[in-house]
Symmetry: C2
Subunit: 125 residues, 2 copies
Amino acid sequence: MSSYSPAETAEKSGFSIDTLRYYEKIGLLSDIARNASGRRVFSDDDLAWLGLLRCLRETGMPIAEMLRYSELARSRGDTVQERLELLQDHDRRVEERIAMLREQQKHIKWKISLYRDTVRGAASA
Amino acid sequence: MSSYSPAETAEKSGFSIDTLRYYEKIGLLSDIARNASGRRVFSDDDLAWLGLLRCLRETGMPIAEMLRYSELARSRGDTVQERLELLQDHDRRVEERIAMLREQQKHIKWKISLYRDTVRGAASA
DNA sequence: CTGCGACCTGGAGCGCGCTCCAGGTCAAGC
DNA sequence: GCTTGACCTGGAGCGCGCTCCAGGTCGCAG
């Protein structure tokens, strides 16, 4: 098996059918095959691509940048270097985001410990 | 010094003046003092509260939940237990988010390494 | 006493990323 | 032959979190 209906693709990719259509419309997905009656038929390659899109989306890449990436990916010329740089930049931002979350988490944990002290204090009083 | 103009507060808190007004309007900020001519005057306590709001916001807490938290915080009754649970839940979500980012980052790094191989291959060819 | 700039208000508008809808087509099952 | 249901299209609508705007009020500097 190597071709999938919209419903199967939605299930496997984690995007809704509406989102798949939207992604095709704006150009994140191109050359999606159609059967005789005009319905979309997704391939394993499409699924792999959707997997990457999902990963970029979930790590916070804006759609505009994913669009830039997919234009590079489908371009005829050699864009490997540019794609590499784009992903490296993104990777750096993910790293920063993780560091920021860890930092802010300290503040939250500190606040939690204050509340815990209060609860304990009230219980022992 | 322990009172701050809107502009100072914006600068220190990292929220824009418009956002400060918006937060007061929706109830995230309450009892902000005013001077004789009706202008806002922020205190050190307000700034500390804004610091917490900022931290919750940046770690992805939706405004609706921050609102719930601030209602608990300003309530007359003993809501320490509830606030504790809310923050603990949030802390757990932050943890999960970090784990997810790390996981997805593997995918990105794998893709990066593919591109690097391609670049190297092309250079040596 | 004039001008300026920081502030005020209520409310409209915006950017993002979908999500939903009306109206239609087609293939399969009864 | 009819119904059903998965799919199609173009386009409107939505939820979130601000952000901007018009029109007005102060208080101080020149």
